[in-house]
């Protein structure tokens, strides 16, 4: 039982990391939906290869299906190149058509082969550890771990080897082209990786939820950091956390593991979206409030500074009259005074406000700017 827990979590983590790494480049290159298209369009490839190999985890099947994925990318680009169809529409045309062919193939020949539609589309992580790899009679673990492990290694090698090229082609494709780095080649290399990864992962999580693994962690990491290397690392970590927490969520409520991992991906994204310092929703809201009060305080000290030492000063720095002079709502004016008092920019004696040394500096600085 414990072994089973560990096996499933291991498969989930390896799959999540393998998906997140190429996903970073897809998110940065605005091509996330290409993974959605590939994951749907590989269906006819899987079906045809399955007719030949009669096994869902044979390397031939992975290669054939991955080839369909690359073919999808070529189709989409050919359609785009006619200039008659925009990119989004090209994607939206290509993958449903290929997917339809896959569905028709399955239902036409479903009697002859044992290919479960749900398994292809939704995956079933819980059964993954049952398919084990034997070497010389020794059980060395689930097949999925080795398949996804190989794919993970492949992705890692590609990214490490071509890190510089990928970075350049992602952030400045035209510079990469002029320097002779062949961005088209990099592009197709990346697309091949995405196809292979998607095919490898559909076994575990199914073709629809692959997108959650590919797009979720990188987008979450993108909210946190500006550095590519850090974004890659963070995506891998976030992907793993989502995988493990999703597994336990599924275990707790006895629900679909892949679905629970996707749910955790959404929660994690939401959490970071709200909480991350500087760019999070809460940080933005707090910054806006602070800026509002800062601005009001600056207005107040400038007002006091302008009239300081002049005959009308007494009337102008009367707390009760502030709202008239600055056109503030009385309640708001009272709050601004409180805010300025707390910051020691003004002093209050009876109903009169006077500037402190600090308030004077703030006003002077604001006026100079």
């Amino acid at each position: 039982m414990i072994q089973e827990h560990l096996d499933i979590q291991l498969i989930a983590i390896v799959t999540a990391v393998a998906c997140a790494l190429p996903g970073v480049f897809l998110v940065l290159r605005r091509m996330t939906l290409m993974s959605d298209a590939i994951s749907h369009a590989i269906l006819p490839g899987i079906v045809l290869a399955f007719f030949l190999t009669e096994s869902l985890s044979s390397p031939l099947l992975i290669l054939a299906a991955a080839a369909t994925g690359v073919l999808t990318v070529v189709f989409v680009e050919l359609l785009q190149r006619t200039k008659l169809v925009k990119e989004d529409a090209a994607i939206g045309l290509t993958f449903p058509a290929l997917f339809s062919i896959g569905v028709i193939l399955i239902s036409r020949f479903a009697g002859n082969v044992h290919l479960d539609m749900d398994a292809v589309l939704l995956g079933e992580l819980a059964y993954a550890p049952l398919n084990r790899l034997d070497i010389f009679g020794y059980d060395v673990g689930p097949v999925s771990v080795y398949v996804m492990g190989t794919i993970l290694l492949l992705n890692l090698t590609f990214i490490l080897l071509f890190y510089k090229e990928l970075k350049l082609a992602t952030f400045d494709a035209s510079l990469a082209a002029t320097l002779g780095f062949a961005p088209t080649l990099i592009h197709y290399g990346l697309m091949t990786l995405v196809s292979v990864t998607t095919v490898g992962a559909f076994d575990a999580v199914g073709s629809i939820l692959v997108v959650a693994l590919i797009a979720g962690p990188p987008a979450t990491a993108y909210l946190i950091t500006n550095r590519l290397s850090l974004m890659l690392t963070l995506s891998a970590v976030i992907g793993s956390v989502n995988a493990v927490s999703g597994y336990w969520l599924a275990y707790l409520f006895d629900v679909s593991i892949a679905g629970a991992i996707a749910t955790m991906t959404l929660l994690m994204f939401g959490l970071v979206f709200f909480l991350v310092p500087n760019r999070g929703l809460i940080a933005i809201a707090r910054r806006r409030t602070r800026q509002k009060w800062e601005f009001a305080q600056t207005m107040l000290v400038i007002h006091l500074f302008n009239h300081e030492g002049l005959p009308e000063a007494e009337a102008e720095s009367e707390v009760a009259h502030l709202h008239e002079h600055l056109r503030w709502d009385p309640a708001f004016a009272a709050q601004v005074v409180k805010y300025a008092l707390n910051n020691r920019c003004v002093l209050q004696e009876e109903t009169q406000l006077t500037l402190t040394e600090r308030g004077r500096t703030v006003a002077q600085q604001a006026l100079v700017q």
Binding site: D88, V103, L209, A212
Partner: protein
């Protein structure tokens, strides 16, 4: 004999299904025109996937399988998903495509979780996920056709009422904003209309293929004209054609699912339009290229001669 057997199968049930598919194709073709022109072709994909948790929650809350309640749940979830996508794009630096991908897949994943939860509580006769994903055109009843007709009709009437505003939103958003039109409200209105079209189609062609019904007829129609109203009428026509064609083809042999066949029909119409449409089509372009080449050659020859003299 072959023809006769197809004709005899054009019975009442088939006719209902064909009418339903045609209406659906017409409604989604019409509204999909906006999605394609705004380069939001894949929004339909997102909305249809995001609808799953809505269906599950509607079922969990009411315990009923009345289509109208499930459709309402689907619509709310699809609408919420779109709102999330728009907010993510507006508030963060995450781009439209990533926001779409995340919401589409995670909403669907959450729906899957709820679905397994429902299955576990022992509602054995709960409709399978296959129905949600691929639809079951064969189960379209007269009452469904009525629902599609009425709701789709309402959506199209609303669209016609806001014709000028939506047209402006599609072609020049900045100008529309500067004239004081409420851009965000219009954006949400248009999205809501799309949600209606998609949710109506879930039963017939399913979530995965519904996006194609929005995109394909509109892309095909785009090749034949540069006028919005003509494009919309053509898209509606192509959509209806694909609906009827797909229904008839799939009924002519056993074990050909209707939804995918409808989608393939629509794709064929697109291919046909891209190659053959006058002015824009590939064939036309090729001919024009050759004519220009010939003319240039003649012109070049004349110039050469005049230089010699």
């Amino acid at each position: 004999m072959e023809n006769l057997s197809i004709l005899t199968r054009l019975d009442y049930t088939l006719m209902i299904v064909a009418i339903g598919a045609a209406l659906l194709g017409a409604v989604s073709g019409t509204l999909g025109t906006y999605a394609v022109l705004r380069r939001q072709s894949l929004l339909g994909d997102a909305i249809s996937h995001a609808a799953l948790p809505g269906i599950a929650i509607a079922f969990l809350l009411t315990g009923s399988k009345t289509p109208l309640i499930l459709v309402l749940g689907a619509a709310i979830a699809g609408w919420l998903g779109t709102l999330f996508i728009l907010s993510i794009v507006r508030l963060t630096r995450i781009k439209y495509d990533s926001a779409l991908g995340i919401i589409l897949s995670t909403f669907f994943g959450f729906g899957l979780v709820l679905h397994t939860l429902i299955q576990r509580t022992g509602n054995a006769n709960q409709a399978g996920l296959d129905t949600f994903l691929f639809g079951q055109a064969a189960t379209i009843l007269e009452s469904d056709v009525l629902t599609i007709g009425i709701l789709g009709g309402i959506a199209i009437v609303i669209m016609l009422v806001f014709w000028k505003e939506l047209k402006l939103l599609v072609f020049d958003e900045g100008f529309a904003a500067s004239l004081g039109f409420p851009i965000r409200a219009l954006d949400i209105l248009l999205t809501s209309l799309l949600v209606i079209a998609i949710v109506l189609g879930l039963q017939a062609v399913g979530a995965v293929l519904m996006s194609a019904m929005l995109v394909a007829p509109a892309v095909a129609a785009r090749q034949w004209t540069d006028k919005l109203s003509v494009m919309m009428l053509l898209a509606a026509g192509f959509g209806a054609l694909a609906g009827v064609g797909g229904t008839i083809i799939s009924s002519s042999a056993s074990r050909i699912p209707t939804g995918p066949t409808i989608v393939l029909c629509a794709t064929v119409v697109v291919g046909f339009s891209i190659v053959l449409a006058p002015n824009r089509g590939l064939l036309w372009n090729r001919l024009r290229y050759q004519r220009n080449k010939r003319n240039l050659k003649m012109l070049g020859g004349q110039l050469f001669q005049s230089e010699e003299q």
